[in-house]
C-alpha cells in the first residue's frame, strides 16, 4: 500500500514541479510574446501601406452576422455563416484617408492563413491592392510555405478592383494569379480570402476633405462613381 502511495506521490511532485516551472516561465514570456506580435503587426502594416501613420478600426456586418471575437480585430470570419468584417481605415499624418487595411483569413492545406492586405485608392476612384503580407501560415514547408516569399507576394501588388472582382482567381480557376508550384490549395486560399475581403470593403470616399460616412449594408456597390456622374450631367 505504501509503495503505491509513493508512486503517486513521486508523479505528483514531478508534475507539480513541471507545472510550476512552466507557469513561471509563461508569466515571464507572455508579455514579451504579445509585444513581439504587436511589433510584427505594425511592421506588416508599414509594409502593406507605407506612409500611413494613424489607424482607425471599423467593422461591418457580413450576412447573417454574429458578433465575433473582438480580440481578433483584424480578421475576417471565414465561416460562411457570416460574421463581422473588421478593417482599419488608414490616415496619413495630415489626417487624410489614404487607404484600408484588413486581414484576410483563408483555410489552406494545413492551416488557416492570415494575410494582411493594404488597399489604396487608384486614380480612377477604384480600390487597388497595394501589397500583402502573410502574418501567419502553417503550410507544408518547401511547398505552401513558399507563400511567404516576396516573389509570390509581389504578384498582388497594384491590382485594381476591376481585376479583383473578375480576375483575382488562381490560374487553375481561370484567374490571373499564378499558383505556387505544388501548392494550388494554399494559393487558392490566399487569393479567395483576399478577393472576399476586397468585396466587403467600402467604396473610396468621394471628397478628400470630408470622407463619406461608411455605408454599412451594401459596401460592394460603387456609390461614389455614380454620384460623380450625376454631377457631370
Amino acid at each position: 500500500m505504501m509503495y503505491y502511495l509513493k508512486l503517486a506521490f513521486v508523479l505528483l511532485v514531478i508534475a507539480g514541479l513541471a507545472s510550476a516551472t512552466l507557469a513561471y516561465l509563461n508569466g515571464k514570456t507572455q508579455p514579451i510574446i504579445e509585444a513581439n506580435k504587436k511589433l510584427a503587426e505594425l511592421a506588416a502594416r508599414e509594409k502593406v501601406l507605407p506612409g500611413a501613420s494613424a489607424f482607425e478600426r471599423d467593422s461591418l456586418a457580413v450576412e447573417g452576422a454574429q458578433v465575433s471575437d473582438s480580440l481578433e480585430p483584424l480578421r475576417l470570419q471565414d465561416d460562411s455563416g457570416g460574421g463581422m468584417f473588421f478593417y482599419y481605415r488608414a490616415y496619413d499624418k495630415d489626417h487624410n484617408l489614404v487607404g484600408y487595411i484588413f486581414t484576410a483569413l483563408g483555410k489552406g492545406y494545413s492551416s488557416t492563413i492570415q494575410t494582411m492586405c493594404g488597399v489604396v485608392f487608384a486614380d480612377d476612384g477604384a480600390l487597388e491592392l497595394n501589397a500583402i503580407e502573410i502574418l501567419y501560415q502553417g503550410e507544408t514547408p518547401g511547398l505552401g510555405a513558399n507563400a511567404v516569399n516576396d516573389k509570390f507576394l509581389g504578384r498582388f501588388n497594384g491590382l485594381s478592383q476591376l481585376l479583383t472582382t473578375s480576375r483575382l482567381y488562381v490560374d487553375k480557376d481561370g484567374g490571373d494569379i499564378t499558383s505556387i508550384t505544388g501548392a494550388t490549395i494554399t494559393t487558392r486560399a490566399i487569393v479567395n480570402s483576399i478577393r472576399e475581403g476586397m468585396n466587403h470593403l467600402p467604396a473610396p470616399p468621394v471628397s478628400e476633405e470630408t470622407p463619406e460616412p461608411i455605408i454599412e449594408s451594401a459596401p460592394v456597390e460603387p456609390i461614389a462613381p455614380v454620384v460623380l456622374e450625376e454631377e457631370a450631367a
Binding site: 508523479l11 512552466l22 514570456t29 510574446i33 514547408p141
Partner: protein, 202 residues
C-alpha cells in the same frame, strides 16, 4: 565503451534515423528543405541533451513503475520551455521553427534515449549520448534535406544550384510526401548493403 564511443555511435553505427528507424514522422515531414532539416535537427538535439541530463539526474528518485509518465512530463516541459523562450527572445527563429517544436514532444528518439540510455548511465555519458544522437539525427535530416531540396526545387539552402532549365520543371515528387519515403528507403537500403558487405569481409 569509451566516452568517445558514447558520443560518436549516434553518427552512423547507431544512427537514430537510418539504423534504429526512430522518430521518422518529423524526419519525413520537415526534410523538404535543408534549412528546415538543420533547424529541426538542432532543436531536437537541444531537447535530447536537456532531457537526457534531467533524467540521468533524477533517475534514482523515480520508481521503475512510473518512469515512462515521468519521462514524458520532463520531455514535454523541456519542449515547452524551449518553445516559449524561443518565441519570446528569438522571434525570427521561432517563426521558422515554431511549427516543428511541438513535433519534438512526439519524437520517439528522445523518449527512446531516455529509456535506453539516460536511466542507466551517469550524467556525463548521458549528455554525450544526447549530443551524439542529436547530431546523428541532424546529419540524417540534412542528408535527406539536401537530396530532396536539390531534386525537388534545384536549390540548396535557398541558393540556386542546378541550371535554370531544371529549376523550372524540377522533380517535384522529391519534396512531396512520396519523395520522402523513396529517398528514405533508398538511403536505408544503401546503409544496410554497406553493413552487409563489411560484415561479410570480416
Amino acid at each position: 565503451m569509451t566516452l568517445l564511443q558514447d558520443f560518436t555511435k549516434g553518427f552512423i553505427k547507431e544512427n537514430p534515423v537510418f539504423i534504429m528507424a526512430l522518430g521518422l514522422c518529423p524526419v519525413l515531414a520537415v526534410t523538404t528543405s535543408v534549412e528546415n532539416a538543420i533547424g529541426m535537427g538542432l532543436a531536437a538535439t537541444f531537447v535530447l541533451v536537456g532531457s537526457n541530463f534531467m533524467i540521468s539526474l533524477i533517475k534514482k528518485l523515480i520508481p521503475a513503475k512510473v518512469r515512462i509518465p515521468c519521462y514524458i512530463v520532463v520531455i514535454a516541459s523541456f519542449v515547452t520551455v524551449v518553445d516559449m523562450s524561443m518565441n519570446a527572445f528569438l522571434p525570427d527563429l521561432h517563426k521558422n521553427l515554431g511549427l516543428f517544436i511541438p513535433l519534438i514532444v512526439v519524437n520517439c528518439v528522445i523518449l527512446g534515449r531516455a529509456e535506453a540510455f539516460a536511466n542507466r548511465n551517469n550524467l556525463i555519458r548521458s549528455i554525450l549520448d544526447g549530443f551524439g544522437m542529436g547530431l546523428g539525427f541532424t546529419l540524417a535530416l540534412v542528408v535527406l534535406g539536401v537530396i530532396r531540396e536539390l531534386l525537388g526545387v534545384g536549390t540548396l539552402l535557398g541558393y540556386n544550384i542546378l541550371p535554370l532549365g531544371f529549376r523550372e520543371s524540377p522533380m517535384l515528387v522529391a519534396i512531396l510526401a512520396p519523395g520522402a519515403f523513396i529517398t528514405m528507403g533508398l538511403l536505408m537500403g544503401l546503409l544496410n548493403m554497406r553493413r552487409k558487405t563489411t560484415q561479410g569481409a570480416e
